[in-house]
């Protein structure tokens, strides 16, 4: 009997830790039960296909955020790489153009990272700058037109990417799932991956612990823009076309999802899997609003409220934590328990 209050707080803590999974389940069950034509394999495949690009982008972005930085250039990097991949396909084929495009993504990340750690400019500022440059570069390369490919071999690739290979899973989705698992393993089970958390939690401690903080930060930026590039390229390959603003909507989407997933900008918290689950949850919510026949205004309104609520909740939690800092609640509880045990 006496340990009941502890159970409750434990339950709350667990709930908080797994809140994104709970949110996911709640939305999934609600939509399955009430949204017309939501719960069938075709629709679920569609949802998985739709999130593929943003989920890929969110992987790298989450790593940067775990390190306590921001990468606002992901959307533009995705477009930039996609345009390179398709423009070069015409002369050298995907076999060579895709690696070049990914290399371009790596380069963007390298530049971002070096500007952050060596020139010591805030990542927020750096990536605003690279975002502008990438936009100009993309427009210059294409002359202001979207890039498209046609021909049976190109269509064969895009059809292969989009048609289910296993039940419900087209290759593009399988690839995305592989990336997610790989990243999850990387940040939770390797030393380098755990360094991201250490660095984000406290840079000084990380440095004192012998972590090469600069290298870790740069690698985070490289991961971010590389995944952005990969996401953009796959999306473009699937549609056999790259539009000049295809990555534009991704930034806000990925930022919101990452935060809702529980990765905080104070760094050292969260995880890539949570971000991806958050993206899936948001996408199910959006699909639901479409299936219910509601307009975008409802969707924007709801997702804005969710985002605001999550940020507010986190801030309030840490505010409360800070206020009770130094108070040893468990000692107080023990005292209370001892008091209760003492016979009258």
């Amino acid at each position: 009997m006496h340990n009941k209050p502890m159970d409750k707080s434990k339950l709350l803590a667990i709930g908080d830790r797994f809140r994104i999974y709970i949110l996911f389940l709640v939305i999934f069950i609600f939509m399955s039960l009430f949204a017309p034509r939501f719960f069938n394999s075709y629709n679920l495949t569609t949802i998985l296909r739709t999130v593929s690009m943003n989920a890929t982008l969110a992987l790298g972005f989450s790593v940067v955020m775990i390190c306590g930085h921001l990468d606002l250039s992901i959307g533009r990097t995705a477009t930039f790489a996609a345009v390179i991949a398709l423009l070069l396909q015409k002369s050298v084929g995907y076999g060579l153009s895709v690696p070049i495009a990914i290399a371009a993504g790596v380069l963007v990340g390298l530049v971002n990272g070096l500007l952050v750690v060596k020139v010591k400019i805030n990542s927020f500022i750096v990536t605003i700058g690279t975002m502008t440059i990438l936009q100009g570069a993309t427009y210059t390369m294409t002359g202001g037109n979207s890039v498209s490919l046609s021909g049976s071999n190109v269509f064969a690739i895009s059809d292969f990417l989009s048609r289910p290979l296993l039940p419900m899973l087209p290759p593009r989705v399988i690839l995305t799932i592989l990336f997610v698992l790989l990243f999850h393993f990387f940040v939770t089970h390797t030393q380098w991956g755990r360094n991201f958390y250490l660095l984000g939690g406290n840079k000084m401690t990380a440095w004192l612990a012998g972590i090469h903080t600069d290298a870790v930060t740069v690698s985070a930026f490289i991961l971010s823009s590389t995944m952005a590039a990969v996401g953009g390229i796959l999306f473009a390959m699937e549609s056999s076309a790259a539009t000049l603003n295809m990555g534009e909507n991704s930034l806000m989407y990925v930022v919101s999802a990452t935060i809702i997933g529980g990765t905080a900008m104070s760094g050292g918290k969260g995880g890539v899997l949570k971000s991806v689950i958050a993206i899936l949850s948001l996408e199910m919510l959006y699909t639901g609003t479409i299936l219910f026949g509601l307009g975008n205004e409802v969707k924007i309104f709801i997702s804005g409220l969710i985002l605001a609520f999550v940020v507010l909740y986190e801030a309030y939690a840490s505010y409360k934590h800070e206020r009770t800092l130094g108070q040893r609640s468990e000692l107080l509880k023990e005292v209370a328990m001892l008091k209760a045990r003492v016979p009258k």
Partner: protein, 342 residues
């Protein structure tokens, strides 16, 4: 013991020096651009650069940006990076003012300003009191206000002259942007100069400014000296929201329509102006006059590029590169002075 005192005085000296550098530094860049323009004119590549008309055009063009930046600089100064809710604050206050125009011009103005200040207050409380991450929270707020506009007005955009038959109100509203004092000084320009002067005065000459500086550079210390940091931060957000509202009214007046897409891009552009103007994101450094300088540099840069006939696409690349370059140099100078930049 002696050594500590020595270090302290040196720090004081560099402080004053870099304070001057911070405001003059950006004007050196502005001067550089002016000289570049004059040089190009001298060589004959561009013409009419050094004319009153052209220089007036440059200031006119950046007046709205200057208004936004002058207010947002308070947030940067308080150590909270930037206000990403600027775009939809512009849109929301604009659409509210048009909607309220049916009750008269001054009612519309008051309503819009109230609405703007409310947004600022919410931002200020959440960031100031609960210490939410400033960028993330204001991004969320941006999304929420967008949601409100879209939800309330669905997909409509509203026109002043359709909303009301009150010709005088519509005329006054139309003239928020278009009014010209002595046919030369446009109202946004006047407003920008007033707001910059007031901002500079508040920041550098009032106890509030000193408190804001301390809050921005060392929040904990500021708290221990008895400053109500929550209030100080909240007020910075209210000031930012107020100037944003002023800009929002002017933009809405210029485009003659209240719509959710008004004001897009002003967040990043204002950040650019502030950072080029020598204000660092670490907080507590820089000045509003410096921000004005940053705004002017952007205007000069755009002007020279268009006069040179550089295409839109290349302009983006150059703009981004110069931005990173200027900020990089600024960060390096601060570091070499022993004042590390975050």
């Amino acid at each position: 013991m002696n050594r500590t005192i020595d270090t302290d005085t040196r720090a004081l000296r560099t402080n004053r020096f870099s304070a001057i550098m911070n405001s003059v530094g950006v004007y050196a860049i502005a001067l550089l651009f002016l000289l570049l323009g004059m040089l190009l004119q001298g060589v004959g590549v561009i013409n009419n650069f050094m004319t009153t008309q052209n220089l007036m055009n440059i200031v006119d063009a950046v007046a709205l940006l200057g208004i936004v930046a002058a207010g947002m600089a308070f947030i940067t100064y308080s150590g909270h990076y930037a206000d990403m809710s600027v775009p939809t604050t512009i849109a929301l206050t604009g659409i509210v003012s048009v909607e309220l125009l049916r009750f008269g011009f001054f009612f519309a103005m008051a309503g819009a300003i109230l609405c703007g200040i409310l947004i600022g207050l919410i931002n200020g409380i959440v960031v100031g009191k609960f210490k939410a991450n400033p960028i993330i929270w204001t991004l969320a707020m941006n999304y929420v206000s967008l949601g409100i506009i879209r939800f309330v007005w669905v997909n409509k955009q509203i026109y002043p002259d359709v909303i009301t038959d009150n010709v005088r109100a519509v005329m006054l509203f139309d003239n928020i942007y278009r009014f010209r004092l002595f046919n030369v000084l446009s109202l946004p320009l006047i407003l920008m100069l007033i707001l910059v002067a007031a901002g500079q005065f508040i920041l550098k000459r009032t106890p509030y400014g000193a408190q804001l500086k301390l809050t921005g550079s060392a929040r904990r210390t500021a708290r221990f000296t008895g400053i109500n940091v929550e209030m100080i931060v909240a007020s910075a957000y209210v000031i930012s929201a107020f100037t944003t509202t002023v800009a929002g009214l002017a933009i809405t007046s210029l485009s003659r329509v209240g719509a959710w897409y008004n004001g897009a891009g002003y967040d990043f552009r204002a950040v650019t102006a502030i950072v080029i103007g020598g204000m660092t994101l670490a907080g507590g450094r820089g000045s509003i006059v410096g921000v004005l300088g940053g705004t002017l540099v952007i205007g000069l840069m755009n002007n020279i590029m268009t006069l040179l006939g550089i295409g839109t696409f290349s302009q983006d690349i150059i703009r981004g590169a110069i931005f990173i370059l200027v900020v990089g140099i600024n960060a390096k100078t601060l570091r070499s002075q022993g004042r590390d930049d975050a």
